[in-house]
């Protein structure tokens, strides 16, 4: 008899991102060791682990954000829909339109609320007319659960919004390029509990359309929002599996010690 309530299992879902034997070096320091992960489509995957464990580094590999760091060297394979994202043919700018990112601190552009969201569709040429753009902006702000609060102040600066609103604005901006994957690096760590709950509710809705990968220091948050969880420690992927399993009955001693607060 198995009492674990299965929301979804790794086995019977489509794989969106497939990582194999991924190693990352910063200069002579190795940050990630031989990581293999399958990221499921239309699910939330949480990356947890103590500071410096490599979870953010790994997240940044998924849309080649590490390319901007000169000393960073990545080996192995990361396939998005079976295409190697590190292939010479792949344009990292287009890749990042498909794999959007939301950062720890809300970082709206110093532009209006409207222009923050409209920026991506404009530069990627995703819209043909002003009314198309209006529609996209409205749709994205609605999807980010922000529309009601900003519809009368679309042309005020995005930086004038509250922290929680700014973060939702960044999510609206990220979804405006119609991405397939959304990477979130501790998206709630600068927010109060109400704003955090709103973002978590939003993440649960976003996974209907996107594959979401979230790095979080809050294990309760990982437990609440994700279907699958990966635990990193010292650059190694220690354990990866269904969130319910990881948080109730992990296989590895290190996972158990970490989630029960026995080492940091």
């Amino acid at each position: 008899m198995n009492i674990v309530v299965k929301d979804a299992s790794l086995a019977d879902t489509e794989i969106k991102i497939l990582a194999r034997d991924v190693n990352v070096h910063y200069g002579t320091t190795q940050a990630i060791h031989n990581v293999d992960v399958d990221i499921s489509d239309k699910m939330v995957t949480a990356l947890i682990g103590p500071s410096g464990c490599g979870k953010s580094t790994f997240l940044r590999c998924l849309n080649r954000m590490n390319d901007t760091i000169d000393s960073c060297r990545i080996t192995g394979q990361i396939l998005l829909d079976n295409q190697d994202i590190y292939d010479r043919e792949v344009d990292p700018v287009l890749l990042r339109a498909r794999v959007g990112m939301v950062f720890q601190k809300p970082n709206p552009f110093p532009k209006s609320v409207y222009d923050n969201v409209a920026y991506g569709p404009r530069i990627h040429g995703l819209v043909n007319s002003r009314s198309d753009l209006d529609n996209v902006v409205e749709k994205c702000l609605k999807r980010a659960a922000l529309w009601r609060e900003v519809k009368d102040r679309l042309h005020e600066p995005g930086t004038g919004l509250s922290g929680g609103q700014q973060q939702r604005l960044c999510i609206a901006r990220a979804v405006a390029t119609a991405p397939e994957v959304l990477l979130m690096d501790e998206p709630c760590s600068a927010l109060d509990p109400i704003a955090t709950a709103q973002i978590e509710e939003l993440i649960d809705e976003l996974r209907l359309n996107y594959s979401v990968v979230i790095v979080t220091h809050s294990m309760q948050q990982a437990a609440r929002v994700s279907q699958n969880t990966a635990f990193f420690h010292l650059g190694n992927l220690v354990e990866y599996g269904e969130t319910t399993k990881i948080f109730t009955n992990p296989e590895d001693q290190r996972t158990q010690d970490y989630i029960t607060g026995r080492f940091g």
């Binding site: 008899m1 198995n2 009492i3 294990m219 309760q220 437990a223 948080f247 109730t248 009955n249 992990p250 001693q253 158990q256 010690d257 989630i259 029960t260 607060g261 026995r262 080492f263 940091g264």
Partner: protein
């Protein structure tokens, strides 16, 4: 898996506090059971009354376990084995409280039996009582040691207690048929035996909790059980 100390040491103190209360409850339930059986054997009304009074302390301890567990869950958000430890502690506290109630009930019947004439059936009851006490002690030891093998052994062996109960039932019914004047007394004996059999079942629930704490999965739902009692001897 090994369990080291928490980074937040107050968390460990909470867990120790719960463990200490469960241990006290276990000791109390053991004493109540063996004293209640002693009261039947020695026809000692004062001893039986002592058992009845002990139940108050057991009830109070159960409430304390619930209280500490609730606060710990709210404040510490326990995960994995810590969470299973707490959930199991709540279940075991309830189970031990029930074992106390059943022992108290045996003590009340001991007072009744002490006022009636001595019958040879008492020695069968006392034997079954010792068998039950033994099983309770073993399961409490298995809980303290988190010994899943011992727990599983008790879980499988409870069927022997069921068999003892069935044999005793037949013995009492035969006795009552031979001399209908003993029906009142025999019925009391049957209730005592049934209480002991229920206590045996409760020890298997504790065994299941021990297994769940350590393994994170249930022991199973196909525990061997005694044959359902047939009353063909009455026909």
């Amino acid at each position: 898996m090994e369990v080291g100390p928490h980074i937040v040491s107050a968390f460990d103190k909470d867990l120790v506090a719960i463990q200490a209360r469960i241990s006290e409850m276990g000791g109390l339930a053991e004493d109540m059971l063996s004293l209640a059986v002693d009261a039947i054997r020695s026809r000692d009304v004062a001893l039986a009354e002592q058992v009845i009074r002990m139940d108050d302390r057991l009830d109070a301890l159960e409430l304390e376990v619930e209280d500490v567990a609730q606060v710990t869950i709210a404040l510490r958000q326990p995960m994995a084995q810590d969470l299973r430890d707490l959930l199991a502690a709540l279940k075991i506290a309830t189970t031990l409280e029930r074992i106390g109630d059943l022992s108290e009930n045996i003590a009340r019947r001991a007072i009744y039996l002490a006022g009636r004439k001595r019958v040879r059936l008492s020695s069968s009851i006392v034997r079954m009582g010792r068998q039950t006490s033994q099983q309770l002690s073993e399961v409490l030891n298995a809980y303290i040691a988190r010994d899943t093998e011992a727990a599983r052994g008790i879980w499988l062996r409870d069927v022997e207690l069921d068999d003892t109960y069935n044999a005793l039932f037949r013995e009492v019914v035969t006795y009552m048929m031979e001399d209908p004047r003993t029906i009142g007394l025999g019925s009391q004996m049957l209730f005592v035996a049934k209480n002991l059999e229920r206590i045996g079942d409760h020890t298997t629930h504790i065994a299941e909790s021990v297994y769940y704490i350590v393994e994170g999965e249930p022991l199973g739902d196909d525990r061997p059980k005694g044959e359902p009692l047939s009353l063909e001897i009455l026909e």
